[in-house]
Amino acid sequence: MYTIRVDHLTKRYGPTVVLDGVSFQAHPGRVTGFLGRNGAGKTTTLRILVGLVAPTSGTATIGGVPYADLADPARHVGALLDGAGFHPGVAARAQLLLLARGAGVHASRVDEVLALTDLADAADRRTGKLSLGMRQRLALAAVLLADPPVLVLDEPANGLDPPGLRWLRDLLRGLAAQGRTVLVSSHQLNEVSVVADDVVVVNAGRVAAAGPVAELTRPRVVVRTPAASVLATALERAGLHAGLDGDVLRVLDATTAQVGDVAAAAGAPIHELRLETSSLEDVFFASIDAGGTRRVA
């Protein structure tokens, strides 16, 4: 089993800092969503991970080894990267046969991945004649050729129609369920929210939030009070953990009734009391607006 590990990755192009100390891990058996706005540094990070771009500093390893040092890397890692294309004059099957040969994969696997990606009927068409969605499916077929234990996918949903999106979702879930490590970059938060177990949010070249989706989106009680520190102490005594931000407390694993009772007992006047539920979109915007790094173990 292979863990993807990115440590303090930095990339500069002249004075432009694209990545500024990015660190995170993606684990086997889980789908890790890699989120960020356009230009946040997602693609650069993934390209460094598979050895296409050299980092200014920091390391990126797969199973503890840099991609370039893996023996037969295509057999270990299936990578779909932005900008990866096919010669328009070569047929889909011929492209895959060339890639299979380069990866040391038996030619019979080509027909398997063509069937898996629903491209069997288009196998003999030149790639220049394929639609955007079909080219994306062809790229995914290429990724799956060697049946790799690690998948690194940059915006894999691009160009897919609704049935294609559902197929991709089921595919990623199925691959993770088999124990594979799946790292998926996207800016389509809804797609990621239904498939990812963990997320890493990057913003302006830094990790803005990271952790399990279930933890990051866990409901919390929000209470506003002028006696915030008094209430925080009372909540701790009651066995509840509260995060303090000015005059606002956020309390995990509690009900509004519990927090209200503790506040009443402590004599803290309540100006606002509500249950806050967060979607992945909320987490995303909160993390990039905050500017800091939010990590949940």
Binding site: V50, G51, L52, V53, A74, V77, G83, G85, L98, G102
Partner: protein, 250 residues
Amino acid sequence: MSGNWGRGRDLVEIELERATRTRTTWTIAGAMVFVAGLVVYGAVHPAAASTGTGGAGPTAAQEIRAAVSGVGTLRVFVTLLGVLLVTSQYHHGDIVWRYLADPSRALFVASKAVACAVIGAFLGLVVLQLAAVMTVVHAGSLGLSRGEAASTVAGTVGAMALAGILGVGVGASVRSQTAAVVGTLVAVLLVEPLVTAVAPAVGAYLPSAAAGAAAGGGAALGWAAGLALYAGYAAAAAATGVILCRRSDV
């Protein structure tokens, strides 16, 4: 060691297969053979060949030398093929798949260079055969000794193979398809003739002159020296390609 050799052979075979599956290769090869036919016809046809000779027409040996010298200049087609086979992979983005399968930039350039050398040598043999057949049909014989024929074949085929390596080196160094093609044509059609006109002593050692000498058409260099010098240019281009590919992000 044998594993590395086997891997290298696999990569060369993949590059040859990739080249033969693209229309660019067949278009350039077809154009080259067609132009070769015209060039050889110009060299051996009575009216064209005797122009300016004043008296008797050229001998068979003179005809085949003129024909070989003419087809030798067609190595620019092979150089352009080498350029395009590298730059089209960058242009269409399938270089990403290539480097994912094997991250070694040196192996990429080397396997591509060997594949293009094989294609260049094959095309060299084809156009030489064409020149020989047309000369024999016209003059009744080649008029060359066995030694002359051997050096002609070795020099011309070698120059064609090296032209492919040179093209791969240029393509890997520049990577932009338009810039590499335009740069190659400007160098061959403009810069080298200009330098040769201004400073003939220098021009005699430029790549085109070296390749021309290898094909038996050089005044300053013999065929072996021309081939060796052209090999130096091809090796330098390929080495530059490896260095610049290693330094560049994809």
